[in-house]
Amino acid sequence: MKKPWSLAALTGVAALATLAFAQSREGGSEPPPSASATVQPIAFPHSTHAGQFQIDCQYCHFSAERSVDAGIPPVASCMGCHTVIQGRNQPEEVNKLRDYWARGESIPWVRVYKVSDHVRFPHMRHVAADAGNLECQECHGLVEEIEVIQEVAQPLKMGWCVDCHRQKEASIDCTVCHY
């Protein structure tokens, strides 16, 4: 008669532990950005630009060191190279870029990395040499190896931020990010 009891108890404890574990990983339960969301107006290959040609991230994301926003490159920046470079792999994509430039329109890039609206993420505090001096890859993953940018490396969730802040002994005061 004793066995069913211990069995039941064990199952109960296991169930609770699973629940707790699931909760502690709750960030992972978020669905990944749907495929349609990552179809960009121009199939911009980060792997070619940042990988093959070793262009520095901040060449295009120009304000990461001095602003909360990393910055999206102006079309003119793209045209700086692509006026002369046609590109071997996907010349039709470069043509799209030139069309945008010719029309004087901005490119409606689809946002991939976004923290919640109640979170402040100052890029400069993380990137600038005087401040955090982190590599972009710490949060954005090995962008230079990815063709289509996706939220691959980590979900941008609080637990993950806090983990890193604790490891690096950065402040874990709530109002560092929430205000």
């Binding site: 490159p73 609206d117 100052p122 600038a128 401040a131 005061d173 109002t175």
Partner: protein
């Protein structure tokens, strides 16, 4: 044109800042687009604010402003510290201009009225139509409000080209003052007043802290004058008027003058001063008649009192008399202003505190008189054009403005938003808001300021700047105005200023510097010394004016400190800002003396019909001890019909009670003109007020110290220590007697966190302790900080119904307590203002009760509220003794497009069910810390973090900083002997906000309350 405009290429980074995005919509599945710039803009870094200088266009004072933009959108307006008028501060109306820019009721396209209905047309059609009308008609009329000098020139040039005349009509014109100045001194220009230098101010009803001439500059001067200085010296103000306005509430003494008796009392004082040797010049003979004894019969003020006032005016030099203001524009208003000039002249103030200039501003403007004659001429006018004025609302109905306008051949309105006058027009041309257009201003001779667009025009509205339209029309009509756009026109006009201001440098470099600084001050129009009085060239009566009707009460109609003449009424921030005097929001009220109310059986909230011979309005009573028993008062600005969703139907328009009469010789509209009766209706109306009780109930909230008690101590302002700490003293006494005192109540802001809680990050040595000091001797209760805070921190408005329920969301509650107010006799007046914000207590009662740590103390000493953690138990608000925590009862963040564009992207927009409160502008602290960090890890400098309220304060009453640094300003100001912390003596909350007691001239009860 316009690399100027192109530089501010519009909104290409929509989305990155998250402006206007509502909080808490975690993990939205919808696709968000990032829009990069096409062409990089060297001015704009996404995520970093860009500032532009400009000029505030809300009132004729012409304060210089800084416009803060983020990603190409205007998000806030602040005073330009380089500007001599604003000096870095601004008033509540100025701060609200962001809502004027993003007003959802702005006109979206040119509109043409056909069959009584407006329909949208294109600009080309509109200009073509107007050109055709102008060509086909003659005797055109252009009604304008006050516009900048370049625009004035353009208008005149345009009108001489098309054949017509211009009439300037401002409801709040100071024509009587200007006219009196011309009569008295031969200077056809408004004088400027140096409040800062004065030691004694007599205001005959001039509301110089709220609406009169240049309130921001005057408030700064007044605060410097009336705030007690390090030597224990303090200037004094006496208010002589039938009603205490906000200015009156800041006075030290009140002489409740019978309405219209300013001239009698002023001349009688001049009489006494002349007797004592003052030089009355050509008015010596006039003054003979104004013996104080005679004045007593006319004014009801005891002769002894007048004598004493006069002698003090002479002795406490330099003194200054101002007024009467707009509320005092009675039938002899010019004479009253002249009388005050005479008083100043006799006392030797002219050239010292009253500054006159050797300028002549052309023919004397006679606003209402000219409007009347223009109305008569309308029937003959081909086209009547209207810009920046709303006579259909602000002119009393007996004048028959709508009928006159209807008689014109064609009616055109240039207006940003539809108003009562534009509705009467055939063609409505949407004008640009001043934050998106070019212009200039000359707030006083020798000071020129540029108004530049801070953003591309809001694309929801297809607008054109009136100046551009005029130039284009001129071109269509075959003229050559010499400029294609108003921008070019402005530059050409400024070439002359450039030649004077910066001879030798090129115009382009001068222009760039002017834009950067926002203001150009020429030094060649220096103020003069004393100007002698001239013999009068106009026959004037100094007698109290006749009043219409035989009602029981004299009606005082005064310009609202929130809406002015009513043109700011469609702004929810201002509608919801509790009136600084009555603390009522949204709707109107009639001020009635408590004795009169008791006699009539009326109380606050009782609806009465105010009836004059000219009209009537129904309005609730507000019982106010600061008004004479024989007087009632109504504020302008309410009762709009057809001005926009926030203005319409709120309150009443007192102009309907007035006769359409012209004051002679100034040509102003008479506002103190009639007697009224109050007829109770037997009904009541809930009052949308934030005021619970105006009595402190002897609690240590807003104590005051008498000047004598300060000087009694150590002979300087540092005295009075024992008063501030008397609460602690009592506790010590209790302890000494063996009583039970639970915790140490001696503490200073810098001591927190206490020993027991120093753990983890809580290391006092490694962190600042942010703190604030507010000098209540300077604070005037003007409430500019309230709107500045609202703009900075995305504080929502909630609407009248919610205010009535007591659900205001404002991080600053401007408390107003009556101590001494006596409308019966001349004597001291003591009304205390206290801006109540989160005190960021060291022992914060709100924090430990929060079950989820949404309220907690940061290592930097902030009492933090983490919105996204808040579940909404409201326990913290219950336990906050200061009642500064406000709750989002609903989701108030959804505002009509494009008002959400004005959200500050650095501050989370709160959703429903969340508590919020003053954060000490933590976003500014973080911004500064981030900047300091990337600038070589330098420390944050003292004074580098400026919260929005401190930034806004025209009275310079607020200081903020790290109190743990003994050299910081806040640490030093907090050491002041007048310093105390609200309720701390009672409940040991250890606030981080130190208030400095108000200083009174009379002895205050117990030295404390």
């Amino acid at each position: 044109m316009s690399d100027g405009i192109k530089r501010r290429d519009f909104l290409k980074v929509l989305g990155t800042g998250g402006a206007g995005a509502t909080v808490f919509g975690c993990s939205t599945q919808q696709v968000e687009r990032l829009l990069p710039y096409v062409v990089p803009d060297e001015d704009i870094t996404p995520g970093v604010a860009t500032w532009y200088t400009s000029v505030c266009g809300e009132c004729p004072a012409g304060c210089g402003i800084w416009v803060r933009t983020r990603e190409g959108r205007v998000v806030k307006v602040e005073g330009n510290p380089d500007h001599p008028v604003s000096g870095g501060a601004l008033c509540s109306r100025g701060f609200s201009s962001v809502q004027g820019l993003y007003d959802p009721d702005r006109i979206r396209t040119p509109l043409l009225k056909e069959g009584g209905e407006f329909r949208a047309i294109t600009w080309d059609q509109a200009e073509g139509l107007l050109a055709q009308r102008l060509e086909g008609g003659s005797n055109h009329l252009f009604l304008t409000g006050r516009v900048g000098p370049s625009m004035t020139d353009l208008l005149d040039q345009f009108l001489s080209f098309v054949g017509g005349s211009r009439v300037e009509y401002e409801a709040l014109s100071e024509a009587p003052l200007r006219n009196a100045t011309r009569i008295a001194f031969g200077r056809n220009f408004l004088p400027t007043y140096d409040f800062e230098q004065a030691r004694l101010i007599y205001s005959f009803g001039a509301d110089f802290l709220e609406t009169w001439l240049s309130p921001v500059a005057y408030q700064r001067g007044f605060a410097r004058m009336s705030g007690v200085d390090a030597h224990g010296s303090k200037g004094r103000m006496v208010f002589l008027a039938p009603r205490l306005s906000l200015t009156g509430q800041n006075a030290d003494e009140w002489v409740p003058l019978r309405p219209g008796c300013e001239a009698v009392v002023a001349l009688s004082m001049a009489h006494v001063i002349a007797r004592e040797g003052g030089d009355a010049g050509p008015y010596r003979a006039v003054l003979q008649a104004y013996d104080p004894a005679n004045a007593e019969t006319a004014s009801g003020i005891p002769a002894r009192e007048i004598e004493e006032l006069a002698l003090r005016f002479l002795q406490e030099a330099p003194s200054l008399a101002v007024g009467p203001g707009v509320a005092g524009h009675h039938r002899n208003a010019t004479a009253a202003n002249l009388a005050v000039h005479i008083l100043n002249a006799v006392a030797g103030n002219v050239g010292r505190t009253v500054r006159l200039r050797q300028v002549d501003e052309g023919a004397a403007a006679r606003p209402f008189a000219e409007l009347r004659s223009a109305m008569d001429a309308m029937a003959q006018a081909g086209v009547v054009m209207i810009l920046g004025t709303n006579p259909a609302y602000s002119v009393p109905p007996p004048a028959g403005f709508p009928a006159a306008l209807a008689s014109a051949g064609f009616r055109v309105a240039f207006s940003t938003a539809m108003d009562e006058t534009a509705r009467l027009c055939d063609l409505v041309l949407p004008d640009r808001h001043f934050l998106e257009s070019w212009g200039d201003s000359m707030p006083r001779p020798g000071v020129f300021a540029l108004q530049q667009p801070a953003m591309q025009p809001v694309p929801l509205f297809d607008t054109r700047q009136a100046g551009d339209v005029l130039l284009s029309l001129a071109a269509r009509l075959g003229g050559d105005p010499g400029a294609a756009t108003f921008y070019d026109y402005l530059r050409s006009r400024w070439a002359g200023i450039g030649a004077l201001a910066a001879p030798g440098t090129g115009f382009d470099s001068f222009w760039r510097d002017a834009l950067r600084k926002g203001v150009v001050e020429l030094t060649d129009q220096e103020e003069e010394g004393p100007v002698p009085l001239r013999s009068p060239d106009t026959a004037l009566s100094f007698d109290p004016p006749p009043l219409d009707g035989d009602g029981e009460f004299t009606l005082v109609v005064y310009p609202s400190s929130r809406f002015g003449d009513g043109k700011h009424a469609n702004r929810p921030w201002l509608q919801e800002l509790p009136d600084p005097v009555s603390k009522i929001a949204w709707h109107s009220w009639v001020e009635v003396n408590p004795n009169a109310a008791r006699r009539m059986g009326l109380g606050t909230g009782d609806l009465v019909v105010v009836r004059s011979p000219h009209g009537q309005v129904e309005v609730p009573v507000w019982v106010y001890p600061g008004i004479r028993e024989d007087t009632v008062a109504l504020a302008m600005g309410g009762g709009h019909e057809g001005y926009g969703r926030f203005a319409d139907g709120n309150g009443v328009n007192p102009m309907v009670l007035l006769p359409a009469e012209v004051e002679q010789p100034s040509g102003a509209l008479v506002k103190l003109a009639t007697r009224v009766s109050l007829d109770p209706t037997g009904r009541r109306r809930p009052i949308a007020t934030i005021e619970g009780s105006s009595d402190q109930h002897d609690r240590p909230i807003a104590p005051a110290a008498s000047l004598a008690s300060l000087t009694r101590g150590s002979g300087e302002a540092g005295a009075g220590e024992e008063q501030g700490e008397s609460g602690h003293g009592q506790l010590k006494e209790i302890q000494a007697m063996g009583g039970f005192a639970p915790v140490a109540t001696e503490g200073k802001p810098q001591d927190f966190p206490l020993e027991g809680s120093r753990y983890g990050q809580y290391d006092p040595a490694a962190n600042p302790r942010w703190a604030m000091a507010i000098d209540l001797d300077k604070c005037t209760g003007c409430s500019a900080c309230v709107i500045a805070c609202q703009s900075e921190n995305n504080v929502p408005w909630v609407g009248e119904e919610q205010i009535i329920m007591g659900r205001e969301i404002s991080w600053i509650r401007m408390e107003r307590y009556y101590e001494t107010v006596d409308a019966g006799h001349p004597g001291p007046v003591d009304i205390r203002f206290l801006p109540m914000i989160c005190q960021h207590c060291g022992n914060a009662p709100c924090e430990p009760v929060c079950p989820v740590y949404a309220a907690y103390h940061t290592p930097e000493g902030l009492n933090a509220q983490v919105y996204n953690r808040c579940v909404g138990t409201r326990y913290c608000a219950n336990n906050c003794p200061y009642k500064v925590r406000v709750f989002n009862w609903f989701s108030f963040s959804e505002v009509p497009e494009p008002m959400n564009w004005g959200y500050n992207p650095d501050v989370t927009v709160r959703s429903g069910g969340v508590m919020e409160k003053c954060s000490f502008c933590v976003q500014r602290i973080r911004e500064t810390q981030n900047r300091a960090r990337i600038e070589g890890q330098r420390p944050v400098r003292d004074g580098e973090v400026v919260p929005a309220c401190q930034q806004s304060c025209p009275a310079e009453a607020i200081v903020f900083g790290n109190i743990r640094d003994p050299h910081s300003r806040v640490a030093q100001v907090s050491q002041n002997g007048r310093g105390y912390r609200v309720l701390d003596a009672l409940i040991n909350t250890q606030p981080a906000v130190t208030y400095l007691k108000k200083v009174t001239f009379h002895e205050v009860h117990g030295g404390e309350h």
